[in-house]
Every structure is written in structure tokens, then in C-alpha cells.
């Protein structure tokens, strides 16, 4: 009766646009034995000494010039963005910005953007599109700020619009999850052609504490929730949420910002090289399929139902790039 399970994305079955390089981890078996537990990973991803967006931008790119403001309300310090060069080639880079001290965190609102932060990001995406610049986003947020002013100024609308814009933006987008990929507030920067994550980054629909409070009615069950939610690196590969992981220094990214940035830079260059040669129509169509194919469900005798779109990694076989050997 249950004749097929559709839509599961697994890195092992294909990576679409991903340019696989030696440094990238595309399969959980490539990970070192003795992995930290999901809850340990949550702590590592939140470590205040972890390199944050500007730490990475300053080391990966040259000549970063920050651009400010949403042109409507405010410049949100929880999102930074601007123009920089990656080995001499200009890109637009946008990231959530946490602080590395309490004072900085107050200024940066602990990396929790207001709606105007997402609107600034959208302005920069449009600028990238206008001038044919690739986009790199750096995801690192506990989530979009949940305060009343954020509600008043349309947090949900800003996230929805940002996702919409990214799904159709006519330039390559590479997403790197640096630390916490917290819910819709992370996804608003997270729609790209290739999604990479640092080895100890997390990506989740809600914080483990929030999940535990709702489902177990106790925040102290957060550790169990972290396991159940499958939010850590190997899980992200398994579900296809991340196309590949970027290896961190042995002690974790917080022990060596330079090495972490170098690993990110090594990962980014081949991705952008590859993506910049894909015709825009193919880029958008494959980006659509990448997100279209998320979902695990059962469709009993789907013969009368319209066929779902083919999973994206099958389409990739038709990608002209594969033939040209670019």
C-alpha cells in the first residue's frame, strides 16, 4: 500500500551544485570518531569565543566595506553586510553578527536581528543582483528577535520576504552556517545554491530549550531535545540541510579563528568558481529543486496524484555543466 517515500535529500545521493573538494565533509563517515554529543555541539556553536561574522569576513575577504541601513527605518547592528573581494573578485557578503563580549552582545542584540536587519540584507541582495555579484551569507543567530517592536515592524513579513527574494535572486548564493542556525531567523539568510556549515554548527527549527519547554514541559530536557531534533553536523548532512561541512580546527573554531577562516576560504572559492559559470536559469531552477525536495512523507498509491517534482540530484544529470566538464 505504501508505495513510495518521496523527497528525502541525502548528501550521499548527490550534492547538486556543490563543488566537492578535499577539505569538505560530505558524508558523516568522514567525521572523526568520538564526535561530541548534539548537546555539546549546541554549546560549542554558542561559544562566545567562536569566530563571528566580522571575524570571518576580515580573514576570508579583502577590502571589506560595510554598507549600512535598510533605507526605511534603521541600521540593524545584528546584521552586517557589504562589498568585499574574494581573491580579487567582488562579492556581497551578509551575516548575522554576535558579540564576543557582553558589551558587544548588547550592541549586536546577541545576533538577533530586527525586521530592519532582514530588510537591509534584502537591499544588499538586490544590489548584488543589479551588479551581477555573487552573494555569500554567514548564518549565526539564536533566532530573529522576538520582542514587541520586532512584531510591530513585521518580523514575520521580513523573514518571509527575505526567503522569497533569495529563492529567485539571479546570482549565485553560498550560505555558510557559522554557529547557531536558529529557526526562521536563520533561514532568512539561508536560501542558497550551496549550503555549507562549520563542523560544529547547528541548524534547528526551534532552540532545544524551546522545544523541551513545549514538548516535555521542562527546559531541563533540552539535552534530550537536542538529540531528538537532529540539529548537529552529521544530521544536517543526513537530511541534506547542509550540502557539506567545513572542518574546524581540532579544538573547535573558537580555538583558532585563522585556521577556521582559512578553511572557509578554501571552501568558498571553488563553490563560487563553479556557480559563477552556471547559467542563471539553471541556477534558479536547481535552487528551486534543492528546497523543493525537502520533506519526508508517504503517499499511498500516488498514481492518481500528480507526480512530484523530481528530486534535484536527479535533475543534475541534465545539468549542461556536467557534460562540459567545467
Amino acid at each position: 500500500m505504501l508505495d513510495r517515500i518521496v523527497g528525502s535529500r541525502r548528501a550521499t545521493e548527490g550534492n547538486g551544485h556543490l563543488a566537492v573538494e578535499a577539505g569538505l565533509i560530505t558524508d558523516a563517515t568522514q567525521l572523526a570518531a568520538g564526535r561530541p554529543t548534539p548537546w555539546q555541539t549546541v554549546q560549542t556553536a554558542r561559544n562566545i569565543a567562536r569566530p563571528h561574522a566580522l571575524d570571518i569576513i576580515g580573514r576570508v575577504f579583502e577590502h571589506f566595506q560595510e554598507l549600512h541601513g535598510d533605507r526605511a527605518f534603521r541600521d540593524d547592528p545584528a546584521i552586517v553586510g557589504g562589498i568585499a573581494e574574494l581573491e580579487g573578485r567582488p562579492v556581497i557578503v551578509v551575516g548575522q553578527q554576535k558579540g564576543s563580549s557582553t558589551e558587544e552582545n548588547i550592541v549586536r542584540n546577541f545576533g538577533m536581528p530586527y525586521p530592519e536587519g532582514y530588510r537591509k540584507a534584502m537591499r544588499l541582495y538586490r544590489l548584488a543582483q543589479k551588479f551581477h555579484l555573487p552573494v555569500v551569507t554567514l548564518v549565526d543567530t539564536p533566532g530573529a528577535y522576538p520582542g514587541p517592536e520586532a512584531e510591530e515592524r513585521g518580523q514575520a513579513e521580513a523573514i518571509a520576504s527575505s526567503i522569497q527574494l533569495m529563492t529567485r535572486l539571479a546570482v549565485p548564493i553560498v550560505v555558510v552556517v557559522l554557529g547557531e542556525g536558529g529557526s526562521g531567523g536563520a533561514l532568512a539568510l539561508g536560501v542558497g545554491d550551496v549550503v555549507l556549515a562549520l563542523e560544529n554548527a547547528t541548524y534547528s527549527v526551534i532552540s532545544p530549550e524551546g522545544c523541551a519547554a513545549i514538548l516535555w514541559r521542562s527546559a531541563s530536557e533540552a539535552e534530550r531535545a537536542a538529540v531528538a531534533m537532529k540539529l548537529a553536523g552529521p544530521d544536517l548532512l543526513e537530511t541534506g540541510v547542509a550540502d557539506a561541512l567545513i572542518r574546524e580546527p581540532a579544538g573547535g573554531a573558537h580555538t583558532d579563528h585563522e585556521a577556521t577562516a582559512a578553511a572557509i576560504k578554501s571552501a568558498l572559492i571553488p563553490q563560487l568558481d563553479r556557480l559563477s559559470r552556471v547559467p542563471v536559469a539553471d541556477l534558479l531552477s536547481l535552487r528551486y529543486e534543492r528546497f523543493r525536495s525537502f520533506g519526508m512523507f508517504v503517499e499511498p498509491d500516488g498514481s492518481t496524484a500528480p507526480m512530484p517534482a523530481q528530486p534535484w540530484w536527479r535533475r543534475i544529470l541534465k545539468n549542461p555543466l556536467e557534460k562540459g566538464g567545467l
Binding site: E152, G154, A156, A160, T167, G184, L187, M229
Partner: protein, 283 residues
């Protein structure tokens, strides 16, 4: 909430299978009459939640609704277990609601205009969006795109379904990607927000209608009021995150009473004829 009993009678005189008390004005409402009035309090206009079938009956022309993708059911991608396993929760919700998941989709006509119609049901696990809701809504949008028919989605949801973890989060991108293609093709999308529409559903397709309508008094917001209240450590203003609050802040085109909803949607559908189908202007 302390409820006022206007007649001073004991509530046992109003057995709950026959009577419902209005949480807004306290009036005891005879269930049959409440249903006939599309679950709107006759006295104060309070809008009770409406099930998906009743909603379809309200909006679609008689016998015009033809359900699609009805068979899709949830699997358990993560093997998720909290106080009980996810599949047991699904089974319980199916038994309680009579639906396979939290949305019904299909082809329909609204005042004679052919549309793709999707209606969420809060009764099914709080209208939460997991793989099934995401897939059915995406297929609905794709069918609207392929058939060049307007899309109408009535939302009622607490947000993304935690039991499907990050895959539930990805349904935001999946549904929005499908809506974005409708947008590029200038195929009308009307989003109707009902009580409650919050979290991941509001932060994705529900906010992106060409026209966004809300029922009166519906709870509409990104963060749960509890989270927001804890964030600022104080009580929230009255009316916070209600339809009228969103109207004032610019996120909703109109707050429309349920009884006028069908004709209002029909008016907008008629205004937004799809390019090539409209001979009224020579544009």
C-alpha cells in the same frame, strides 16, 4: 479567563454538546445556531475557530471543491519521541480531526472563479507545518502555476512542526519558493489569516499574499506572546498581535468578517484577472 454568565443560570443547564459559551461576551450560544452562523457569535461577532471542511463550505461554490493530494501522510523522518512517539501523535490527531494532516487542498470555484484552494485546520496538531503540509501547499502552488489559476490559502497554524526538526523549518523555504514563482508569473495569491496564524507559517507563505486578509480578532504574530512577554519582562499591550494590530501596523490589507469573506475574495479575484485573460483593459 473568568466567564460571565449573563442569565445567572448554572452552566449545567447548558450541556456542552448543545451549547457553547462565547469567550468574548459570555453569551451562551446554541451550537446548531452557531454552526449556521459559521461559528461567529451572534451577539458580539466573536469569530470561533473554523474547521477546514466548514471553511471550504463557506468559501467554495457548492460541490465545486475537488480535493487533491488527499492520500499523503506523514512519515517519521527523525524517529522523534517526546512524551510519546510522533507516529502516535499523528494517529491521535487523525482520529480527532478526521483529516490526514493539517491542510486540505484542492481545486474549487469561488463565486464562479476557478481557483486552487488550500485550507489549514488548527485541530490537527495546532495546524503545524511539517512535510505533509509543506508538500501539499507546494503542490497546490505548483498546480496554480501550471494551470494559471489564482491560489487562495486560508491559514490557521501555530507554526512549524517541531517533531520534524530542521526538515519542518525547510518547509518555509519550500512553500515560499513555490509562491515566488507564482509572483513572477503574476498569478494572484490571496492569503487569509485566521485565528491563530503564527510562527513559521506567518514567516513564510502566509505573509506573501498579493492581498492579505484577516478575520477579526485573530491572533497573528511571529513569536508566541509568552516568548515576547518574557523577552521584555512585562505585559503586552491589549490587542497585541491581533488582526487589528497588524492592520494598524501595515501588514494586513483588510480585516474582513467571516460572513463577507467569500464575496471579498471574489472581488479581488475578479480585479486581478490573469494577464491574457482580461479583455477589460487593452493593457
Amino acid at each position: 479567563m473568568r466567564l460571565r454568565n449573563p442569565f445567572g443560570r448554572k452552566t449545567k443547564e447548558f450541556p456542552s454538546h448543545l451549547w457553547t459559551q462565547c469567550p468574548s461576551c459570555g453569551e451562551m450560544l446554541f451550537n446548531k445556531q452557531l454552526e449556521r452562523n459559521h461559528r461567529v457569535c451572534q451577539k458580539c461577532g466573536h469569530h470561533f475557530k473554523l474547521g477546514a471542511l466548514e471553511r471550504i463550505e463557506l468559501l467554495a461554490d457548492p460541490k465545486s471543491f475537488s480535493e487533491t493530494d488527499a492520500a499523503i501522510v506523514s512519515s517519521d523522518p527523525l524517529g522523534f519521541v517526546d512524551s510519546k512517539p510522533y507516529p502516535e501523535r499523528i494517529a491521535a490527531a487523525q482520529a480527532k480531526s478526521g483529516h490526514k494532516d493539517a491542510v486540505l487542498t484542492g481545486d474549487a470555484q469561488i463565486s464562479g472563479v476557478p481557483v486552487v484552494l488550500a485550507v489549514m485546520d488548527f485541530e490537527f496538531m495546532g495546524g503545524s507545518m511539517g512535510s505533509v503540509v509543506g508538500e501539499k501547499l507546494t503542490r497546490a502552488a505548483e498546480r496554480a502555476y501550471a494551470d494559471r489559476k489564482p491560489l487562495v490559502i486560508v491559514s490557521a497554524s501555530g507554526g512549524a512542526r517541531m517533531q520534524e526538526g530542521t526538515i519542518a523549518l525547510m518547509q518555509l523555504a519550500k512553500t515560499v519558493a513555490a509562491i515566488a514563482r507564482l509572483d513572477e508569473a503574476a498569478i494572484p495569491f490571496i492569503s487569509v489569516l485566521t485565528d491563530p496564524t503564527t510562527g513559521g507559517v506567518l514567516a513564510s507563505f502566509a505573509s506573501l499574499g498579493d492581498i492579505v486578509l484577516a478575520e477579526p480578532g485573530a491572533l497573528i504574530g511571529f513569536s508566541g506572546a509568552r516568548v515576547t512577554s518574557e523577552t521584555i519582562g512585562e505585559k503586552l499591550p491589549k490587542g497585541f498581535q491581533r488582526s487589528e494590530f497588524l492592520l494598524e501596523h501595515g501588514f494586513v490589507d483588510q480585516v474582513v468578517p467571516r460572513t463577507q469573506l467569500k464575496e471579498r475574495i471574489a472581488f479581488f479575484l475578479n480585479s486581478f484577472r490573469i494577464a491574457g485573460q482580461d479583455l477589460r483593459w487593452s493593457l
